[in-house]
């Protein structure tokens, strides 16, 4: 579990083995509505967060809705 991971455009030390771990580490409540995640350009469905592994070099997007036109 070495190396870096890119979260929302920022490089970080990899500190989680799964998406759900990463969310908790980032202080995002996985139960909260409106959050979505993509890893390496592919959406990871909420149901797969606990089982989707992360490895060094992965690019992760964590998003939610904002006001918009």
């Amino acid at each position: 579990m070495n190396g870096t991971i890119c979260i929302n455009g920022e490089d970080r030390q990899l500190a989680a083995t799964t998406v759900i771990e990463l969310l908790r580490a980032e202080g995002v409540d996985p139960g909260r509505r409106g959050v979505a995640v993509a890893v390496n350009g592919r959406v990871v469905r909420r149901s797969d967060w606990p089982t989707t592994p992360l490895s060094a070099g992965d690019a992760v997007e964590i998003v939610k809705p904002f006001a918009g036109g």
Partner: protein
């Protein structure tokens, strides 16, 4: 009679029936409460949202919790300038908002915010194939609008003028061509500056109007929201009522006979 269009005349997009023909954008309001009150005053059922990285928090943080129940959230792909980013943003939006509707925006020029219509058609086709109900923000080019319908878009959203410009309908002629030919609903998007612009769009044959800045940035957003509600209703009613033709010359309304002082 109130400002809403009669129940007997709903706007139907992808089989979903809407009482209000006005779609509201949620950005650029002075604050959250004004936004909520303006949405209420507008009578809109569908409001738009953007999808952004969590680190970027503003008052709209919990937009879903705020309005999720009462209004249909229509996510957009605002700001995306590649097919890849637009498609992924749409997919993230579907996951985040549990809706397969998406207002597809694919910007071709950061200054004018005009769409890149060639890429737009490709992205629309991909998303339709992926099961999305796609409402693309596009130009008033009748061929582009028809091709978007041909690849399966549920509606087209031609711009009236550049986003946020408030210039209204810079090309009513093309807009009318688009409305006449479109096999899917036409929602006027972008450029609305004031109520009469929205009324005119409906009179030209648009099935609905999308408004954001004109309401959010008005001196009195609530008043303008009510104005837009009435204007969309007025324009729709006028369209259905069948306007008189334009005539190059005058035609007296009062009777021409029996004037005093005239001969028998």
């Amino acid at each position: 009679m109130d400002g809403e269009t009669p129940l007997s005349d709903p706007l139907v997009i992808a089989g979903r029936s809407l009482r209000s023909r006005l779609i509201l954008g949620t950005a650029r309001f002075p604050n959250r409460q004004v936004m909520l009150d303006a949405i209420e005053a507008s009578g809109a059922e569908v409001i738009t949202a953007s999808i952004r990285r969590i680190s970027l928090d503003g008052y709209a943080e919990s937009l879903v919790d705020l309005v999720g129940g009462r209004y249909q959230l229509l996510p957009n792909t605002a700001g995306c300038s590649s097919v890849r980013d637009a498609v992924l943003t749409a997919q993230l939006a579907r996951e985040a908002l549990e809706t397969d509707w998406v207002k597809l925006e694919l910007i071709g020029d950061r200054e004018t915010l005009y769409p890149d219509v060639a890429d737009l058609i490709q992205a629309a086709e991909e998303l339709v194939g992926d099961g999305f109900t796609v409402l693309p923000y596009c130009t008033d080019d009748p061929v582009v609008c028809r091709r978007l319908a041909d690849v399966g878009c549920a509606a087209v959203m031609p711009l009236g003028s550049p986003i946020g410009s408030g210039m209204g309908l810079i090309n009513p002629y093309n807009l009318e061509m688009v409305c006449t030919r479109s096999p899917v609903p036409v929602i006027l998007d972008a450029g609305i500056g004031t109520a009469s612009d929205a009324a005119r769009a409906m009179e030209l044959g648009c099935d609905g109007v999308m408004v954001n800045s004109a309401i959010a940035q008005a001196n009195d957003p609530l008043g303008m929201a009510a104005a837009m509600r009435d204007a969309v209703a007025a324009g729709r009613r006028a369209r259905l009522a069948g306007r008189i033709p334009r005539r190059a010359y005058a035609e007296a309304s009062s009777p021409q006979l029996g004037l005093i002082g005239s001969g028998s």
